[in-house]
Homo-oligomer: 366 residues x 4
């Protein structure tokens, strides 16, 4: 078993790590860390909001037994050399300071944006851009024995996954996306306030659109000689918040290079889903992408838990009417499962063997 | 005072007509009609749902006094010649049969789609395409003394209003729109069921996208010699339903012909709003369009009631990143006020004088 | 396997029957019936709303494979003699006519109120009043070989279950209950309309309070010599509807005969739960009652699915301040699982053996 | 005009003060104070949440012009002697320290609980217990020239108002109340988190039940010789939070001393409402209590704004079935209007004249 720590373990994403690592075949969680406020408490006690008395646990399952009584450490009590791998769920400003310290000795899988846009850092979606993982090796130039491997923003994940087979089969020229993002995407401290979102839509999420626009192109870009050339298409997004607990819904309009029929896109997506490189991993879903023919799907409440939130659901595939060559569709991605902690766990796969996953030649990578 | 009737008076749109006509300076409501089920009842009694006992009245104000005790007629008891004008809020299939009967003698302002796509029928948004009202005269070839003048679909209204100043100033090449539509847009019989939409988004509204795509181009088209040439741009929509009571939110991406800056679009919209042709009418809002600089606006719950729901609110104006020349924004339009019954009442304006609004030369039109 | 039919199979309760009978050890569903509108269609097609195109299926799981393609029959095509047992999920008026026809030959387990208040009909909650099942035998005087055995109203279920150990241990004098009932309790045709309940509470559910007040006393009454004497306490209810998908929350104030401490009530409830008569049945929950010490529990969204909706959750047990002897608490019961179809399936237990459950001496009863 | 300050002006209650004082006939707001975080900013800027960018303003109307640009002071910059009256909207712990400082020179109207339970402090609901205002004079023994006059908890307000005519006409023995409280009752910093309350009910609000139980008896108690004897009835509450923006709904069961019919209670309530002592004040509602015959009312979304939130709405008046003499009903009270800031402004009435409202004999009181 690989020894792992979760940093930022009491937040929304941190909680998903706790669930994702419960009874995992490869990983043993031996320490959790969070903010000063939580430090020293039992994990389950650190989750309780002092004002309302409510347990700020946000998951269908109860807090897993194995984690309830774990003592929460301060972040600076973490000795990275004690771990084979560290999962971080930190605010970007904190990640910028903390993650390099850990990376000196230990691989870090991060859900923060802090390093995503640096030239020696790939943004990994397992099954989409596995080849870019090799870029991690160049981080040794920073004097790191480990690395920092960030996941994308949760809104990028489903978009990049669904664009991948379109790009590979039909070419992509332009992408125009509108997101209807779930409450859990904003976390719990405090995240979205009920007074703000009840009977409402908030048409703005700070910095979100810029992230998606850059990340999608980097993820789907070409990896050559120690650098990634962003994909050669244009992206424009409008990101909104809607009163939905979990699951980001996105409407996508794509101008393709080649002429394209909905039926062909469906086939391409399903073929890609079937052959996806992560299919055999413990956290991988049975289906990587599902495509609905029912025009009323995907719906977040109904489809988000499919395969425990690891499947990207697509629906309403139809010819676009604004572009000569184009396709439009709706996608749903679970922002806290595939789009976050569970996706991070999925990312930790072992390339060529399981006997020595951390050996250089055989290395622990994506 | 002009004598008017409202047909379909108990439904969601019909109720808005009852409110919009309350104490109106020009119109006197003298008869209301609805389905068999309601016929013979007092208006207020016809609104009550027999199963739950709930008054299916959907408006901030209580049922206006003047309408509470009006006896509801069957539709076929309506004698159109008794009215100067008839407002209809019917399902499309019913409208197709009923409205022509009324139009033989009497102008009909309709919220149904039944006649919108016929070549001698303009789709009027007062302040946007007033000139197209002249097309109504050609309906005399149908043997009608009156006419059928439909409003657009409630999702088209805000889009066409905001595109108008962009088209006039910068040219429009492509429009890609995603709507997040309110519950009231689906009416109340039964409309959207709470079990379907709570904690959810429904990514599909039957026929909605096709309507918007065709209507926007017709409304913004050129009227020449008894016919309308649709505007020469392309439209692509994805229409969704969200858990919001009233107010359709739309994200819009526009490729313009000319290079364009957000600040210029704002100016163009405000200039258009200020000079709009309907500014002096009793139902007209103080502002036709407002433009928010606050990026978190417009929000449906906060902005929908501005100027009693007659103002289209725009926000998040920014350069589009997918097009060389392009602009993107978010709009909010009250689907049951400007987008429906109150818009219909606003549409009934008197062209050149108020002494004889129905005189041919001076005619009752838009 | 016992052959069973479900009548009213497309409604909210009917759907739960389909789920509850999926892969059941004892029951084989061989026919489903519903209204004219659905008859002749495949089950899955009959669920689709024609206006919105939405599949009116309301369950976490997808429509079970075994039922998707079953042809829906008209109710009068059902030959009751073909079944060992019939489950009905009908409106009360229909049940009054249809259930006696079936009962001539076949046991009927009903979720309707039609027969609940007749003197030869027990209202069964398995585990609470099993002894009252003997009353079913007296229905032979109606000339029935079968019987009609109704479940209680879904709001009664959790109340009666939690009152049972209080009554047995401390005596009950008065019960004052306020319910906050879920949307699914009103069904789906159309049930609660989103426009009515968003950002709202409806303080009235027709006939609900009277049902609970009568049923709780009958269920907890004494069965002697072919009749039930209602329990000798007084009940007063106020029933409301809240914007919650599933799970009825109830606040309960009880005046007891004896002095009582919260800790004693907790013990009594847990002891009762542990020894409950249905513990060994296939549909029975691991825990019949759970008692939370966390004062923020039970919460419907978090607690309703515990043990697949078959557990009644209790919390906030504390001394009442209005009565000399009294206790107050909050309970949560899943209105569509234990409170309805799954409770009905649980009710069908076999008294003394499993080899011939329908033999008279050994009879199929509760 | 009386010069007033609002302390805690940026919170939910503070915002209501800003609205309530807008264009008030008697009061001129000359200074606002809030926490360190807000100090020095313009009022409107202090309302904006730094993380989401959302204006945390929670009111139908926009931020009133007169307050937008007011500079927010630190609390310790407030010189109480500069004001005729100070309104405070503080957390209880802060109020305990700050209010006595102000009261040395100046009357303080407080929405905090800090002083409610002290023997020389009345809890005022204008129109209910005006006579108890005389108790304020005894605070001079504290060395105060001013006083601290707290409003009740927002959940107490509607209960006490509706009990008043019942108590006066029929006597009250026991009160059992369940509240379904609105989100705004928990304020905005952060108040209720959307992830906690969507599709949910929280069955617990810390300390709320104890407050209501004590306050209702004090408010309706007898004032004699410088002290208040709590009313001689018993109260038991269960307080819950529901997904409703504004307006606390309460179900109330009352055991009365005398036999009572619903119709008589209705008459008593309406008679009391008509003759209420505050009827002539600027902030007073047209109706103090309304009683609905429609059993589906009151509903929070529909009824809360009646008379700008200053009216308590009652419905479902019916005989109680648990008590020999008893009545039950549902009430709705706007927790942020009558139940908080606007109620506080209403409380500031001038007893005998308007020329010198602060003269001792003519004193500024309730």
């Amino acid at each position: 078993m690989l020894k792992v720590a979760v940093i930022g373990a009491t937040g929304a994403v941190g909680q998903e790590f706790i669930v994702a690592l419960n009874k995992h075949k490869w990983f043993q969680l031996t320490q959790v860390a969070a903010s000063e406020r939580s430090a020293g408490k039992k994990y389950v006690d650190a989750l309780r909001d002092p004002a309302s008395g409510i347990l700020r646990w946000h998951n269908r399952e109860e807090v897993p037994e194995y984690a309830r009584d774990m003592r929460v450490s301060k972040v600076d009590e973490i000795k990275p050399e004690n771990f084979d791998l560290i999962f971080t769920a930190l605010e970007s400003d904190d990640a910028k300071i903390i993650e390099p310290k850990f990376a000196k000795t230990t691989p870090v899988i991060s859900t923060a944006a802090a390093f995503r846009y640096e030239s020696d850092v790939p943004i990994i979606i397992p099954g989409v851009n596995d080849d870019q993982a090799d870029l991690l090796k160049t981080q040794s130039k920073r004097g790191w024995k480990g690395f920092v491997a960030p996941l994308p923003n949760c809104t990028t994940t489903g978009l990049a996954i669904t664009l991948k087979p379109i790009l590979d089969n039909f070419g992509v020229d332009k992408v125009l996306m509108t997101s209807m993002q779930a409450l859990s995407g904003a976390g719990r401290s405090p995240g979205v306030i009920a007074l703000d979102i009840t009977d409402n839509v908030i048409p703005y999420i700070p910095k979100e659109e810029e992230k998606v626009q850059v990340e999608a192109k980097k993820i789907l870009g070409k990896f050559k000689k120690d650098s990634i050339a962003p994909a050669d298409f244009r992206v424009s997004c409008t990101c909104t918040r809607v009163p939905v607990l979990d699951g980001h819904t996105e409407t996508v309009f794509v101008e393709t290079e080649k002429s394209v029929e909905p039926e062909d896109v469906k086939k391409a997506m399903l073929k890609y889903s079937k052959g996806v490189s992560v299919g055999h991993l413990p956290s991988a879903p049975k289906e990587y992408i599902v495509v609905h023919d029912d025009p009323t799907r995907p719906q977040p409440r109904i489809d988000r838990e499919l395969n425990d939130g690891m499947t990207t659901a697509v629906g309403r595939l139809r010819k676009d009417t604004a572009f000569d060559n184009g396709i439009k569709y709706v996608l749903l991605s679970h922002n806290e499962k595939m789009g976050s902690a569970k996706g991070a766990v999925l990312a930790c796969r072992i390339a060529k063997g399981q006997d020595d996953p951390l050996a250089p030649s055989n290395s622990f990578c994506y």
